[in-house]
Symmetry: C2
Subunit: 358 residues, 2 copies
């Protein structure tokens, strides 16, 4: 049978600890060359709505040790509303029922069969959180107790979960431009994590004296600046443009998620997508930094790149691009637990396989 799982199922099944543990194992596989990851690709074309684009995104990965491969697909109607001086990428939920479209297809690398199909949303933020959590685990000071969290949206919750999973955090100071949002976030996540979460009115107030800074925004402009760096600080980012290029250059150790650096962009003629521009400027402010040569999280976890060696070093982890590989690893856990718990809709595997040699 092929399992159809929902986001609710994935939320029940995949804990942050699960994700951190399985990714820690899977990244070593990747660094040692047994696992493989195919760079994300983004196709952009016109769509019916004149102020939007259609985006078809895919990324693949295989973790033979876990017996799985995965393809993650996003089929989005995307807009870039202008918002003062920062420009955000906003997906428009245009599928029936005003819904988004993101799917993970999980395959067996032993038999090829489709094991499960599930939406990507819940796993998406858990795996982002888990990767940044591993960055904290391997790079932040052991005695880090105070976190600045920049952003209070969907991704910020996972970042809070992740940092608390790998360090004994006492205080998280959360900033986001909307007062109600940051206050609601503090209330919700204080209760969920049993940690003191304090909403603050500026990013500077959050960052001052923080041991760890976690950027978790959806803006395509810097939100963390060089002038805010303090000795011993660990700075973490969920997307490349969040951190000022000059800040990255001050790091004693800077680790990126992947050397893939930039997606494969395939853009219809006459369409201008800032993040797909050839000069790379739209894709992040730090375009003079060669992400292809920096050590990666898999390098770090497998001992191929140095960890922090003292409490004064400034360390950065830039989660510069997501990998389908992460969905394969986390998918292996979800599938195993779903089978054990008999969750999801079972469909005949024959519907997704064939008797003709394709």
């Amino acid at each position: 049978m092929t399992l159809i799982l929902s986001n609710d199922d994935v939320e029940k099944l995949l804990t942050m600890k699960d994700a951190i543990d399985v990714l820690e194992e899977a990244y070593v596989e990747l660094a040692e060359g047994r696992g493989v990851s195919r760079t994300r690709s983004d196709c952009f074309t016109a769509t019916e709505r004149p102020d939007a684009l259609y985006s078809l995104k895919s990324m693949d990965g295989v973790v033979p040790k876990l017996g799985v491969g995965a393809v993650r697909i996003n089929s989005d109607i995307v807009t870039w509303p202008s918002d003062g001086d920062s420009s955000r990428r906003v997906k428009v939920p245009s599928a029936p029922g005003n819904r988004y479209v993101g799917l993970v297809l999980l395959f067996s690398s032993k038999t090829g069969e489709p094991l499960a199909i599930f939406p990507d949303g819940v796993m998406q933020r858990i795996r982002v959180g888990a990767a940044n959590g591993l960055g904290v685990k391997y790079l932040a000071r052991e005695n880090a107790r105070t976190v600045a969290l920049l952003g209070s949206g969907w991704q910020a919750g996972a970042q809070a979960m992740a940092v608390c999973a790998v360090r004994d955090i006492e205080t998280i100071r959360v900033f986001s431009p909307n007062k109600n949002n940051r206050e609601a976030f503090a209330k919700e996540w204080s209760a969920a994590l049993g940690v003191n979460i304090v909403p603050v009115a500026t990013a500077e107030k959050a960052v001052k004296n923080a041991d760890i800074v976690m950027c978790a925004t959806n803006v395509l402009q810097p939100v963390f600046f060089e002038k805010w760096i303090e000795p011993g600080m660990h700075v973490s980012s969920i997307k490349r443009p969040e951190v000022e290029g000059a800040a990255i250059k001050r790091a004693d150790i800077c680790v990126v998620h992947s050397n893939d650096g930039k997606p494969i962009h395939v853009v219809a003629k006459g369409i201008d997508v800032a993040e797909a521009r050839e000069d790379g400027k739209g894709w992040g402010v730090a375009s003079d930094i060669d992400f292809k040569t920096l050590p990666t999280l898999p390098h770090l976890l497998s001992g191929r790149a140095p960890k922090r060696s003292n409490d004064e070093q400034v360390t950065f982890f830039l989660n510069n691009i997501g990998l389908g590989y992460q969905f394969a690893a986390c998918g292996a856990v979800v599938y195993r637990k779903a089978m054990a718990a008999k969750m999801g809709h079972e469909l005949p595997t024959d519907w997704f396989t064939e008797d003709v040699h394709p």
Copy 2:
């Protein structure tokens, strides 16, 4: 609702004429830059079976004019049994029920929603046939009546259908090494196409005096050679290595399917996949030909590359690599016809969409 269709459904719904017509339209969209196509990627890792590899292959395309995007995925256990001096790629049907795994996911480029999911097998050969059929339509002599068909397998049938759809063919001489196979092919397809199909004992006998030569094999070695070229001949190939490099160089006009030329190969360390070797030699004998600079089928169909201008020219069409784009275009036809005929299993679209911003 999201439709789950079977190969049987696709076979009932998608005629060779449908595929040729929709691809002719879609290739023009591609040449004019409104449609986009993401190069196929092949991930290779170890699998449980020691003499095999796991291959996870994907390709994407969007045809906004038809309102669709598609991702085609193959999840295969692959072997390369040695067969005398030719080496064939053989997929092992390892999914439950000894089945293969190839899937097409069709999305709406208007709403993003998943419209349909279906196995790729039947459409795979129809779209290969249709592409080569369009090569014949635009490059072969108008008065071509005699075809040499090299190969008598699954792909050969589609090539026969395709050539008969675009020219008034009187005779097809079919050769394949196994006598029983070529005789069975001739019998089956004579009846199906109403054309005189003659099995012959050697490739030379098939090719001699043929107006059109269609290679439709699964070997990774040349099956058509320079010495067989005759004035006015059109030579068609379904994969790059089938035609000797020296033969290609003799062409007055040589058109390829795509300038992508070569898939994105992501291969686990220590694994040697002939077709993924860096030097490109394993990927075809004609490695000194730069497939990136040759005119493509979309160029030809949109008037960006010359057609045949007289009956003496030697023309080649090399179907060097498949495109997810073809599955999007053919998928649009299948989906429209399936909805009209109320075919397939309907699943709730909510199963494949989500209310969280991924």
